[in-house]
Symmetry: D2
Subunit: 355 residues, 4 copies
């Protein structure tokens, strides 16, 4: 990726092997991009905490609400029970119902779930209505199901794909982004991976360089004629053995990473973080009422927190560097970040190669 | 109703005219009951805070989660913005997507909403899967829409109707129930109305009489062979001018009313309270950034709180007295509360007519 | 106790051996009653989750706020870290500082804590200012320390003692109350113990009998000339291996027990529940970053929840039955519940011996 | 101030006249610095939302907990009632009791409060125990009272003063800092002022320049031999007419400002934001139960949010630029930020004068 190729660094910690959420062992991502005609620019991105039966083997999880102008489904049950039991589906604001339906269909059909009568579908969204005919509701439950079924480990596409197909970030084309951090062995060697769907505004900073100001494109610049509204969905995965309480704390740190990119969590923004850990599974039908588990002591959480801040900041920037100019609804165009110009700016500010 | 006819009273406050949520001026309720063949026993109940365009004229609102094993859609935006902008739809657990879709269709189609691209659909549910073929997902978005469109003020049906068609409460047939309380003029004269969808367990008490124990039917009686799981959706309406913060407090009191019926909020229960006030509308497009409003001072909230406790307790009991025996899925039958026997018990315990 | 002697029962579960919070193995309670001259009527009640060094061996814990008009110290750290590291001290509203100071002195002085520089003191309160010269602040840190040092297992005094010396409940003399429930072996055999400091109002019910109405003494009876304000501090102990998340859920159930006594959580009430588990200790200085622990699965929590509801309801009633008439500040008197009359009423309503 | 003198800018909005919390009309700050002998390095900083009787004329307020390893007193009542009724006192971790006592004494003694029996004291803290003999508890309630009584509008001291006397930030000497932002007239013209007590760690960035990395001093650098623990208390004042709900949202944005300085909210950090608005007063004894008020519509909050982010970031940096090297307990020294070196670094990164 252009960003890393130019030796620009965010933070002080090393990335995982792929610099992606899939660096967390077992995590799978599937994406369906829906581009039709002049005005359909949307899609679905599904994140699977593991490749098995998620309903039968739930994972500890938590949600942090940065700003709750959004329709994220599934939050209260996650908070109550401390687990996620479904794929996490990201899509557009008016397609949450399709997302829920797709997850339910998927779950009911899985072998072993023949008697399941209740599924807590986790569906996040941002509003791609500037480029996409969102009122047309062009995401079907079949496409949601497809995104789940084709989810895979390994490298994943970023930018104008899946749920990021039609999104806008800091006035430029946003989309799906991902990044990861890996702790040194003496801090546990854990991996934290992040995936974002970027659709928000503010005053863009890249590795501390005030790119938004330099390009004269930022929130409230012309006194509200440019709205910063929008949203950011953030999914954080880790193999650190965190329980739900510490995952909520981890989720809050991802929001700090968003802040570092210049995001301002404007009134109209739906900024949510969903965090889960793959280290302990929570069986739907436990063999005993008391379960032995292993959890990280509070005192050992700080490096994991720091990794989430860095990985989120970089995942957001990666979404901008991966995205390309997109034409959509009503003849509108959202330009990609002018990457060469931005790289020059960054170098001029002593970051990256020329430093 | 049998309960009041027998001069059994819950609490110390007078009811509103209809003893129903529709005693709150402007509130409308619409219900679609879906009974097909041997195993479809479900439905939809919609509550409209007012009869106008809810998206354009939102109402202050809040949610309290008693126990969050449920899929209530729309909570985080209510918490963030302090408003509800859609009908409140109640249905079964696996039909939340249909509920959301029906609300979105309704909202997008309303005159004045031609440019709306984001709708926070509020959809609650309980699990009617004991009597209903819930995996069949027999609620359509058209039926949701129908329940909204036929919503009306005035008397409303209780028991085996709408979202209460297939529910079970304290081991007896539950369903939709409603009740209200009206404050005396010197306490503001406000009305609090409650509607419940009862599908939960515990140790039933009616007006303090230990009916569950007397009938030998209660939670954990035979050490977990009778599961108390289930859920209760509670909607509280008031014309008292409460802001979102005080509505959240009001919602918490409704949960106290549930406790008084013997509900125990078991692990598997999705017990939610949605509270709204009709006194102040919040315009989607305000004419000014600073809005003059009138809110009740904290010090004047206690009588309103007490009304919510009483009305919720009675609404739950009313759901039991209104419900009738229902046969459903897999040849199962859930008996209605044996009303004459229960009335005798209550009299024997010095409540009601014989007192 | 008069209540049990008359064979009145609350709920369906058996009590622990002492029907007290100290039925939970290791829990200690210490109380200092401060009655001086005509107008000092206050005190301190301390609850120790175990008899060892609480700072070095913390216990999982959580707080639920029923109504937050109160000054409970220590809540945010409990929520963040999921533990309590100090005795829990109850006293009067204006003596919270003395409570904190007493806890800090105690903690800093304990062997092994020579380097401790931070202590999260947990101090709850209710306002005994009707009978007590609360503005005089007659609780000293030395008395707080004394209550901690003399804490013991076994039977504990109830009624006008410790932090309950000057409190008022449902218009009658309140005070300290305690109760417990024990689960059958096949549900885990766990014990739940509750201690309350009762100082609140509403419409009193005892075992479902509408005592408040029968005695013509209840909230809002004369339209606000009798204020229901006040508070209830509730401490819930259990040896069930609950983590902080499930302890918060347990705490919420105690609030349901309060509701069953007729409490209404009026605007001015500080109703808090502090719940802790003695099953897993959380070391201040862990020997490893990942700790093996054993926690109860969500699915096994319901009986523990139900025990908390019952024990809280009974602990409140016990505080009323144990309390005696008290004269205090400004020549005021608060009468004890007229016990014989109430027992007759209860019998007349088919509860208790004559049933 | 060196920072602004060198034309370094944080954000895009103009400051208020003094670039201080006292730019919000009526807000007063009082500080008592306690330096005695070799090892007492502590103090008190009090913030008064207005100069009148705060108990009788409360202000709308909210708290956001960034990381709750701290002892902030008063949070649950603020959340429940939506108001602050006392000065906000900042001090050290083990002196919270003195802070509460000082506030209570102050409040009980104020004319008009002769009958007050309940005060919700708001006391925040950070742990200055590295330089200060914190176990000696050298802050008295008299000094707390003094800080309140001498509170004033206008310019206020920053750095090693008051509650910031002994604090450490990013490994350098921290302390008290302040800053403000003023919105343009067409966005309401509101002022947002921030005061911070900085005592936390992370990877320092100043206006985006990676100062912590350049100076080789940052969290986890030597793999946990340098602990990033600590805390940050943040107080946000505004004259924008926000209600408690929107003040909580505002408080959350201040935490984003902390993130932009490189703070990581480590496990051991007590990072709290207290936000209040001076626009509407809430009378303790209202003349009517329904009060007409004027609140900002949700849609107009974004610029106020952005101002809080910028002002918090700058207030933290200001605390570092104002602080000077301090010797304290056990012969320890904490160096001031090497200001000239840092200014050179910043210029070299194209910020400030030479740009």
């Amino acid at each position: 990726n252009l960003f890393r190729q130019n030796e620009i660094r965010i933070g002080v910690m090393p990335t995982g092997r792929l610099n992606a959420i899939t660096d967390v062992q077992g995590v799978k991502v599937g994406q369906v991009t829906i581009v039709q005609g002049d005005s359909v620019r949307t899609g679905v991105t599904s994140i699977l905490p593991h490749g098995g039966n998620l309903f039968q083997q739930k994972v500890p999880a938590a949600v942090f609400v940065g700003n709750g102008f959004g329709k994220l489904a599934g939050t209260t049950q996650i908070a109550e029970l401390g687990t996620i039991e479904s794929p996490i589906v990201l899509t557009n604001t008016l397609s949450v119902a399709a997302g829920i339906q797709g997850i339910i269909d998927y779950t009911l059909q899985q072998p072993g779930n023949e008697k399941v009568q209740s599924v807590n579908a986790v569906v996040g969204e941002t509003n791609d209505g500037y480029l996409n005919d969102i009122r047309g509701m062009h995401v079907s439950k079949a496409q949601v199901l497809q995104s789940i079924l084709q989810a895979d480990t390994g490298v994943l596409a970023q930018g104008n794909v899946g749920a990021g197909t039609g999104t806008v970030c800091f006035g430029w084309k946003g989309g799906i982004g991902t990044a990861s951090r890996q702790l040194p062995a003496n801090l546990g060697g854990y991996t934290v991976g992040v995936l974002v769907q970027t659709n928000f505004g503010g005053v863009l900073e890249i590795a501390g360089v005030p790119v938004g100001q330099l390009l004269q494109k930022y929130a409230l610049k012309d006194e509200l004629n440019h709205t910063p509204d929008g949203s950011c969905m953030i999914v954080v995965a880790t193999d650190a053995p965190l329980d739900a309480r510490n995952l909520e704390r981890l989720a809050k740190r991802a929001f700090m990473g968003l802040a570092k990119t210049g995001g301002i969590a404007s009134n109209g923004s739906g900024d949510y973080v969903i965090a889960f850990s793959t280290a302990n599974k929570v069986p739907h039908q436990p063999t005993a009422t008391v379960l032995p588990v292993q959890y990280l002591h509070n005192e050992a959480t700080t490096p994991v927190f720091m990794a989430a801040i860095e990985a989120t900041e970089e995942a957001i920037i990666n979404s901008l560097f991966a995205a390309v100019t997109m034409k959509g609804k009503a003849g509108r165009t959202i330009e990609a970040l002018p990457k060469q110009e931005v790289l020059e700016l960054i170098k001029n500010y002593k970051r990256g190669k020329a430093q």
